[in-house]
Subunit: 459 residues, 2 copies
Amino acid sequence: MGASQLDPFFNPKAVAVIGATDNPTKLGYIIYRGLIRSGYQGQVIPVNIKEPIIHGVKAKRTVLETSENVDLAIVVIPAKYVIKTMYEIAEKGIKNVVIVSGGFKELGGEGEAIEQRLRDIIKRHNIRVIGPNCIGVFDAKTRVESFFQSPERMLRPKPGSIAFLTQSGTYGCSFLEQIAESPLGISKFVSYGNRVDVDEAELIEYFAEDPQTKIIALYVEGLDNGSRFLRAAKRITAKKPIIVLKAGRTEQGSLAAKSHTGWLGGTYQIYQAAFRQARIHVAETFTDLFDKTKALAMQPVAKGPNVGMVSNGMGPMVMAIDNMVKLGLSLARLSSESMLLLSNVLSKYHGLKNPVDITGSATANDYRIALEILIDDPNVDIVIPFFVFQDTPLEESIVDELAHLNTKGKPILGSAYGGPYTRKMSNKVESVGIPMFPLPSRAVSAAYALYYQGKVMQG
Amino acid sequence: MGASQLDPFFNPKAVAVIGATDNPTKLGYIIYRGLIRSGYQGQVIPVNIKEPIIHGVKAKRTVLETSENVDLAIVVIPAKYVIKTMYEIAEKGIKNVVIVSGGFKELGGEGEAIEQRLRDIIKRHNIRVIGPNCIGVFDAKTRVESFFQSPERMLRPKPGSIAFLTQSGTYGCSFLEQIAESPLGISKFVSYGNRVDVDEAELIEYFAEDPQTKIIALYVEGLDNGSRFLRAAKRITAKKPIIVLKAGRTEQGSLAAKSHTGWLGGTYQIYQAAFRQARIHVAETFTDLFDKTKALAMQPVAKGPNVGMVSNGMGPMVMAIDNMVKLGLSLARLSSESMLLLSNVLSKYHGLKNPVDITGSATANDYRIALEILIDDPNVDIVIPFFVFQDTPLEESIVDELAHLNTKGKPILGSAYGGPYTRKMSNKVESVGIPMFPLPSRAVSAAYALYYQGKVMQG
């Protein structure tokens, strides 16, 4: 990956926090405190025109007084002071700026005018800006961050393969915490809010070249440079899956998006068709965005649409099959060899077919046998076991059985729903590499992403 | 509530567990052990033809040897022995039986023949049966239960106002644990599996008269006596809301349901229309079933469809509004008085309208002010605040502000999504009576239930 203008956002030599403060009620306090404690190894310089000492360190009055190696500025001051500060940043020669502050285009009127002046300055001085009105950046490896969510209140994920781009900082927080509570990790994170400069198109191009990033997930309200984004996506999706959640699908929703980040969404149907053409995964909900990302990060793609299921409780299978039919996946028709094996090796159960109903009496060994039969069946492309961990005959050794299962390149997605014991067991299963979903219908939607990506990769 | 044939299922004087055993790998072990430790105050008698001592207690060889006051039998023995046992139950004069065992109609062939003989016996002897192929009953007050899910693996909820009926035992487990981890409680629970006798129609009629039950939630694959159920529902729904999740919506799903509990579903569209006619709430997913139940249990009904929202993070509002439009709710147009108040009292924010965007700088006091304005606005029928608890300026005193909020009879539903800190805060908010949902679009679906029930009650 050659040097890019965007590099300092994720791997800066030194960061100036403009608006750092000792006043704990201000965002600048949390951002500065967060960054000096995040594990980031570079220098962090507090800048505040009024406070000479911040966190016991001598602060700079303006960015002009900071050391020469500062290559990233995080700006968290009222919008009305941002223009003056940008002139100083330009004079200093800093080329990368995260503007966290709100109060721009999203408010209309005066705010919109300030944003226009901001655009002019950054264009004239060739400065690259993320924001304004955002929570900014996070690199899980260099630990640079611009969050005004303290680590006591928001978990930071470990390094991993997922890049997440989001217009909404709020969804950003939720996504990062979900990742942090899963076996997954983040490569790079960008919340870009009003998107005055750096946009989705440029970011996905950047992540396409980023060796850490294997999967790109996005939440968007409206696209700035839709055609460049789609062209870029089309080049990327066969190598790195791109999953998009698009909000503002209705007129009222779009209007709310406009007053949120200043961008009006287009017709959802048009977006959807364009996304499909660029072979982008379209998520239905925020939950679906996470589920699809998780499946793609943890499992190989599927060679076909045929699903084999096994469970010790059949109720949730019915809705899972309903969802399968809706999405265009199929309940696999098992081979006659599999049917014979099932009735011989699991002869204590009767009338076994797909889904394989091993009833509330099922043991870990029964699961292993059934899963091996499904994996070996040439008619099965995707394997989805559901576990009623509450059913007490099922031993905890199921985790070992799953850890030692040879899945022969077929994707496997598990599912279980319950209280503390079920969550403990689900976490154990995830720790041996099988993604878990609370409901099998969600596992089915996630499995669809593996089927879709399989088709994308076949061209 | 006069004496009903169904009473002994929930408040038996003494219970015989036929198939109780000291073998910990058997369902009969867990059921017997569960019932003697559940807090149930009546006598529990183990019955096993082979084991003379069970859990240190002298077991009876058959139910014929049990004491006179046994008025409920729980049967957990292989299907092929059930008929003989039913003759003994009949001879003994026991009129209420939960048959947990599977191996009947759901298997076809031999199993179907046994189920037919079962039907004949219970009809001839006027015995009432729940099951077979189910997890049976639970009364949160008397603590009678027939679960083969040990308390170490499945939480039991506290007493409360929700009755849950489910064809699937698995969904039963998930629902009970969700209730147990919420501020809600259960009145009575029935998992009826193959439904050889006692059906949904009879059960909802029973719960209509049950003083503990205020809300009835159901998961069904197919209805046995659809017209009686719908007639009963029509009488009940204006007093006690009924929420139904129907699975087997596709042909493949229906077929899976048939081999699960032996019942074939009908066309989903027909069901949906019939449910609406009986003024039943139709849940989209299992999650939606729980969310609607929670909203109805914790909040008053809504007088109209107009939603007022406030948040310190706006992204999730966009999808919430999309969902609102889809469901037929509206984003309230605030009164000019409210608009004036917002701009005066929350003057540090600009351009406030609905949703009220108090940004990442919002404090607990800002929330209180905004919520009071929304509550007082005659154009607002439902109030939905979203909280980015991760945003550190928001003090934990928000819980006190919410606890002391006078909602003036308007429903309020909160939302927040994140990791451990957010869950802790959400639980605190729920403990002061405001139901919380991870995503505001889920809060909107739950709010729709309050609007729908409001219309039902207006007639």
